[in-house]
């Protein structure tokens, strides 16, 4: 069994949401992590913070903000967005999704369709326990010592952007986002020494 793939659903319609949840249960290693209302504020930000592999969206529930949301989600290269469509959904909307599921299909067709979408995606973390690379360890070490992104960048001759990209990768691999959480991890794994940390605080 590989790593569980997280799915976030955006839908206001209960029957639809329940159907999607039921469908996801049929696929092993996938899990609906969260369901958002289309009316939620800062929706794309909230979706991204859940770190899902897949986002299933009912375009009906976010009519006006669909395009900005899809744009913001498309910037996250790790997230695959799937739209729920019907035969009467306008082509303009259908074409904005890289993958779609047809609301009118039966369960078997939907499972097949979803398996194709999921299978297309290669996940490098699937088999092995994620370990952080040498570079990431170095960055983690400096973050744990209390350095800011900018300071780490200066020290290691990297751009801030690169440091942030490494940080995102670390967070994704470890499941820890906050600096203090990362520090605990670094201490537990002897990446930094408690005396060094205390000295730097």
């Amino acid at each position: 069994m590989g790593k569980t793939k997280k799915v976030v659903v955006v839908s206001d319609a209960f029957l639809l949401t329940a159907g999607i949840e039921n469908l996801i249960l049929e696929l092993s290693g996938m899990l609906v992590d969260h369901v958002f209302d289309g009316s939620e504020k800062r929706l794309s930000e909230k979706i991204i913070s859940k770190k899902p592999e897949f986002v299933i969206i009912d375009p009906e529930c976010i009519k006006e903000i669909l395009i900005p949301i899809l744009r913001e989600l498309s910037e996250e290269s790790d997230i695959i967005v799937i739209g729920i469509v019907t035969k009467v959904t306008s082509q303009n909307i259908v074409s904005r999704f890289s993958h779609t599921l047809d609301k009118e299909n039966n369960k078997f067709q939907l499972i097949e369709c979803l398996q194709k979408i999921v299978g297309n995606q290669s996940d490098p973390l699937e088999d092995n326990e994620p370990t952080i690379s040498k570079r990431e360890t170095e960055i983690l070490q400096n973050l744990a010592l209390g350095l800011t992104n900018q300071e780490v960048a200066d020290k290691l001759f990297l751009s801030v952007h690169t440091v942030m990209t490494h940080r995102k990768k670390i967070t994704r691999k470890l499941g820890i986002k906050s600096i203090s959480g990362l520090t605990v991890y670094a201490l537990l794994n002897n990446i930094v020494d408690i005396r060094e940390v205390e000295r730097s605080v």
Binding site: D37, K46, S49, S178, G181, L188
Partner: protein
């Protein structure tokens, strides 16, 4: 299952044990007898509709009745939210703290790991306290004042000034940070804390954190989906006056 007022409260608790802390916030403690929700609420002078709506929202997130909840006064909502804060600060957080201290004192070899955990939780606690304190001393009083001023048609200049100063919309963001640290903590315990012989306490700690997490998520949902839109509505009618 939709919870309704003619149901016996005891049956409801049998059905969903997680509701115990919720009824507690309304002043109902275990040993409440065999009455229906309606009769117990009447005895305790609790607004039945509000009680049921909160209970249902907590029992099943999909049963959150947004429009109906927004029809209640901000005062009633805030009173409930304050009690929830008190449940965290006076009960849950100290319980978890005690548990971690106990774990640290029991183990000789993993002491250092537990001390790290303790420090991390301490930091989390301070963040939560700061967040709650800001809500209770700034946000809530402002909302109540806003509601009263509009009801009595006595909107003062200073209130308008304050409503311009900070809008309620900005305060939603803090909830994510509070939830984030808790997830980190759970991941540390599940994945990274070196295994110890005493799994019992660790299991208990994970359970407590999970219960707290669910409660916090529901609490934030009520604030974000009910309180914030309600205040936005009030703020709008303020500027229209």
């Amino acid at each position: 299952m939709l919870l309704e007022k003619q149901m016996k409260l005891a049956d409801v608790i049998h059905h969903d044990y997680n509701l115990v802390p919720v009824i507690n916030r309304f002043g109902i403690v275990l040993g409440f007898g065999d009455g229906s929700i309606e009769s117990i609420c009447n005895n305790k002078n609790i607004d039945i509709d509000f009680f049921l709506t909160i209970l249902n929202a907590f029992h099943d997130p999909q049963l959150l009745d947004k429009e109906f909840l927004q029809s209640f006064s901000a005062r009633l909502l805030i009173d409930y939210l304050r009690k929830t804060h008190n449940y965290y600060l006076a009960h849950k957080i100290p319980e978890i703290e005690c548990l971690i201290v106990e774990m640290a004192s029991e183990s000789s070899d993993k002491k250092r790991s537990y001390e790290l955990l303790q420090k991390f939780f301490e930091e989390y606690k301070n963040e939560l306290i700061k967040h709650i304190d800001r809500e209770e001393t700034r946000v809530y009083p402002y909302v109540i004042e806003l509601e009263e001023a509009i009801q009595n048609n006595s909107v003062s200049e200073s209130l308008i000034l304050r409503s311009n100063e900070y809008s309620i919309t900005s305060y939603e963001e803090e909830h994510d940070n509070v939830e984030e640290k808790l997830t980190d903590l759970k991941n540390i315990i599940i994945k990274y804390l070196p295994p110890s012989k005493n799994q019992k306490n660790r299991f208990k700690l994970l359970k407590e954190l999970t219960v707290l997490e669910k409660d916090l998520v529901d609490h934030a949902r009520i604030e974000d989906l009910i309180l914030v839109p309600k205040v936005e509505l009030l703020e709008k009618s303020l500027t229209n006056n």
